[in-house]
């Protein structure tokens, strides 16, 4: 059986340490020179319920998770009952002796029962049953014959703050459980984890962390938000680094205030952002239009989750594509980018600020829950600060305003549609702007001709962005293929892996990922889309919003659609089976 190709699932109640255990193990594996892909699945409650963390381990970069579970670490009986069907033949279930598992349930499926006195080990070796997690971590390493030093290293890292005694007790617990598991079950379990000596240092980063780092590097110095899953971790990361980097981070009374604080800060000249999920963005929508009308740069992150209303608050979905494209009344340039990988989140984090300032209009980064919290191994240069360039476009800072000769007009008519933007506070450019239609000076007008000129000026930015900045979808795999899987956002990794499996099976397949959603050059896109053979649009919503968007822009209807809206991330196996069963049948 293969080494370094397995998935471990840690499952239990909220509060039992599922996430910290899973993340700790993942980090140990990465420090051992391997690649991981971690998925956190949790419920909307603080304690109880059912959560899991699934770590996939490989020797090569992993784009996504896999359905098959090789080792299930069950913290309660519920976890055994729910996840046993996912465990492969020859796999095992590791659990405390206090949890009774029906042997017949496992035997018929060829699954090993790795029952261990985890709580007893914690109590005897560490002095408290709270260290049961540590025992489980040690036992997991023992069963997979993983290098104990890596586990010891993580224990030291994680418990250092709590003092030497805590570290020592946890080490003793882990060691005892490791030795017992290796001796008793090591021979029964075929999947092993072997460290790669001399492998370079690597990171584990999720989408929201990468996005926040990108924003910081772009010079974002203001973030105002209201807490909402799954966007909050962007604020949390920036809040933790606010003091070091001089970022003003504020929690406001609601999402309406959150976006308006950012608009005010941006109008003053500071790069500013807000972030929420669909429900919070609903409250921001009127102000989104205000930013567009006053030509105020702004970055809005919308991390999608299951809707409508409160929907599935801790689960993934892509139901807001058409919403963000048409949010707010009236017409204005719609700049929407949708990263699909952790690296793309970093890029979106800084690129959005440059686009927002160049076009003096709000830019939406559309993410989704599964992208926001997926933990991927990146090479150290996977986050590359040296590629970040700050381009403030036609911003007139105080030095530029010192040199200004002619009277300043905020919304002056230009061929590009972009009017130089003065930072308020300089005697050379005292001006007003308004969400009402306005003349070049920013004064309210109802004059039809002036309206036409200003509307046309704003919409020229849309055309210019489509031509100059917005990119065609990314292609993965062969240039020509019988089947093209088309998607956006977090499904990208699973589409790529599904493509690899389909190609290996002799079904020539490639992938198109829409990163830039709007505005797009319709002629170029139409050429590209009409050139595809069989177009299958895959997305995590019911109605096929990306498929409709493509049809609107190019006239081409998807040949097939794969839609998923149960709140769970899409696996490559699901894509492959759907393509085989529903799509390739009869071809």
């Amino acid at each position: 059986m293969p080494t370094n190709d397995l998935s471990i699932k840690i499952a239990g109640e909220a509060g039992q340490g599922v996430e910290s255990g899973g993340a700790g193990f993942a980090k140990a594996v990465v420090r051992g020179g391997l690649y991981v892909f971690g998925v956190m699945d949790y419920m909307s409650r603080i304690r109880g319920g059912h959560n899991f963390y699934q770590v996939r381990v490989g020797e090569h970069p992993l784009h996504t998770f896999d359905d098959a579970v090789h080792l299930l670490l069950a913290f309660n009986k519920n976890a055994v009952d729910i996840h046993t069907p996912e465990v492969v033949r020859g796999g095992g279930i590791l659990h405390d002796a206090g949890i009774k598992v029906d042997p017949s349930q496992l035997e018929e499926r060829g699954i090993h029962d790795f029952e261990m006195p985890l709580i007893k080990i914690a109590e005897e070796q560490g002095g408290h049953k709270i260290m049961m997690n540590t025992a489980a971590l040690g036992a997991t390493a023992g069963i997979t014959s993983f290098d104990f030093d890596r586990i010891a290293d993580i224990i030291e890292t994680n418990f250092k703050r709590k003092g030497a005694e805590t570290v020592q007790n946890n080490l003793k617990v882990a060691r005892a459980a490791y030795d017992m598991a290796l001796e008793q079950f090591g021979g029964d379990f075929g999947w092993k984890i072997a460290t790669i000596p001399g492998a370079p240092q690597r990171m584990i980063v999720n989408g929201n962390q990468a996005l926040a780092m990108g924003a910081l590097a772009a010079g974002c110095r203001f973030i105002s938000t209201y807490p909402m899953t799954p966007a909050s971790t962007i604020t949390e990361w920036l809040a933790a680094h606010a003091k070091q980097f001089g970022v003003v981070q504020k929690q406001t009374e609601d999402e309406t205030a959150a976006i308006l604080f950012a608009i005010g800060a941006s109008h003053a000249g500071v790069r500013a952002m807000t972030a929420s999920s669909g429900g919070g963005f609903c409250l921001m929508v009127e102000s989104y239009g205000l930013a567009a009308m006053t030509e105020t740069p702004l970055v809005i992150v919308e991390v999608q989750r299951g809707g409508p209303s409160t929907g599935l608050p801790t689960r993934t979905e892509q139901p807001d594509l058409e919403f963000v494209l048409s949010a707010s009344h009236g017409e204005f340039p719609r700049l929407v980018i949708a990263p699909g990988t952790v690296e793309q989140c970093f890029e979106a984090g800084y690129r959005a600020f440059n686009l927002a300032e160049k076009y003096q209009t709000p830019v939406i980064i559309l993410s989704d829950l599964f992208l926001s919290n997926q933990a991927r191994t990146l090479e150290m240069n996977g986050i590359d600060f040296s590629q970040v360039m700050i381009d403030r476009g036609e911003t007139l800072d105080y030095e530029a305003l010192d040199r200004l000769i002619q009277p300043y007009e905020r919304h002056t008519l230009t061929e590009s549609g972009i009017s130089p933007r003065a930072l308020p506070g300089h005697p050379g450019a005292v001006y007003i702007t308004t969400g009402d239609e306005h003349n070049v000076e920013g004064l309210i007008t109802e004059d039809g001709e002036v309206r036409n000129r200003q509307m046309e000026k704003r919409m020229r930015k849309d055309q210019r962005a489509a031509g100059e900045d917005m990119r065609m979808p990314l292609r993965y795999g062969p240039e020509q293929a019988e089947t093209t899987l088309v998607g956006f956002g977090s499904t990208t990794g699973s589409l790529i892996e599904a493509m690899e499996r389909l190609n290996a099976d002799g079904h020539p397949t490639n992938v198109l990922q829409f990163v830039d959603i709007s505005p797009l050059d319709e002629d170029r896109l139409t050429d590209l889309i009409l050139g595809l053979n069989r177009m299958i649009v895959v997305e995590q919503n019911y109605t096929g919003q990306l498929a409709r968007h493509i049809r609107k822009l190019t006239g081409r209807k998807a040949d097939e659609r794969i839609n998923k809206y149960d709140g769970r991330p899409l696996s490559p196996g699901e894509v492959v089976s759907k393509v085989r069963q529903e799509v390739l049948v009869g071809v």
Binding site: L216, F222, G246, E253, I263, A265, S287, L378
Partner: protein
């Protein structure tokens, strides 16, 4: 004192002749000039309504936002550039109705922002509907049998929410308004200036004459101490035959919002370098290994 004319523009207002907003406009100009300020040093952030057009009618920086939302824009601006004198200008529907939540939370934070509420007790621009400060029983197109809601007491609300400067002025007394506004602009923290501003077209109840018969100045009231929260609370309840105008309450004991933001100790955020610590970025990655 700077030249009052610096703040003049040629832009014609859309206000009705006799509108109380003219008095408020004159008061703001006089207060800024009286404090030797120049148009580039201040920004007027308004919402939507007749009164929120005010920034268009004087030469000063302005951001005319949307209904109910002047205060959060003003607070973002203040955090980004606390050297700017930020004055929020809203109506009563704007500030106390749709924007009520922002009103309460702004006072909790105590940013050094002047909040001028042009309180005409009616929705003027949408043609006369009742507002949060319309008296109970007020008849309008949206309340043909009379409003059954109790009117909001903005001054009591402000005191309860922790406002550090609470005042009421009357558009019929521009002189006092100018003085109160000057003190509001100089105040360390959030300053509420609730301006009773008769709507000559729609509000046939709370007219100039109605107010003139009732208002009296707190600064002329013997023994009144605006540093006393208890006295202010008493005066905030007074409405009817006698209506107090002037400064009800002022304290500078509480630091402002922006004084408490550690990142602003190095100066206005907009003047801080965007990439001052670029050399520290690379080290961020070590959090993830």
């Amino acid at each position: 004192m700077s030249d009052l004319k610096l703040f003049n523009t040629t832009e014609k207002s859309t206000w009705c002749p006799g509108c109380g907003d003219f008095g408020i406009l004159a008061g703001i100009k006089a207060a800024l000039a009286g404090l030797d300020m120049y148009p580039h040093q201040a920004i007027l952030v308004s919402g939507i309504g007749c009164g929120s057009k005010l920034p268009h009618y004087m030469h000063v920086n302005g951001y005319n936002s949307i209904h109910g939302r002047a205060l959060p824009v003003a607070q973002g601006l203040k955090l980004a550039n606390h050297e700017l004198k930020v004055i929020a200008v809203t109506g009563d529907g704007d500030g106390y109705g749709i924007g009520q939540g922002h009103f309460i939370h702004a006072m909790r934070r105590n940013p050094a922002i002047v909040h001028v509420v042009e309180n005409n007790q009616v929705y003027g621009l949408t043609k006369g509907q009742y507002s949060p400060t319309s008296e109970k029983g007020y008849i309008s197109s949206f309340s043909p049998e009379g409003a059954i809601e109790f009117a909001i007491n903005p001054l009591a609300l402000a005191l309860a929410a922790g406002a550090t400067f609470v005042s009421r002025t009357f558009a019929g007394d521009v002189k006092q308004m100018g003085v109160v506004l000057q003190k509001a602009i100089q105040h360390r923290g959030y300053a509420l200036v609730d301006c009773m501003q008769p709507c000559v077209t729609y509000n046939k109840l709370n007219t100039y004459d109605w107010f003139r018969a009732r208002v009296y100045k707190l600064e002329e009231e013997e023994g009144y101490d605006p540093s006393s929260r208890d006295m202010a609370w008493q005066k905030a309840q007074e409405w009817g035959d006698r209506i107090p105008i002037g400064i009800l309450y002022q304290t500078e004991d509480r630091p402002t919002y922006e004084e408490q933001v550690s990142e602003l100790q190095a100066g206005p955020l907009v003047r801080q370098p965007m990439n001052g610590r670029v050399n520290d970025y690379e080290a961020l990655k070590l959090e993830f290994v």
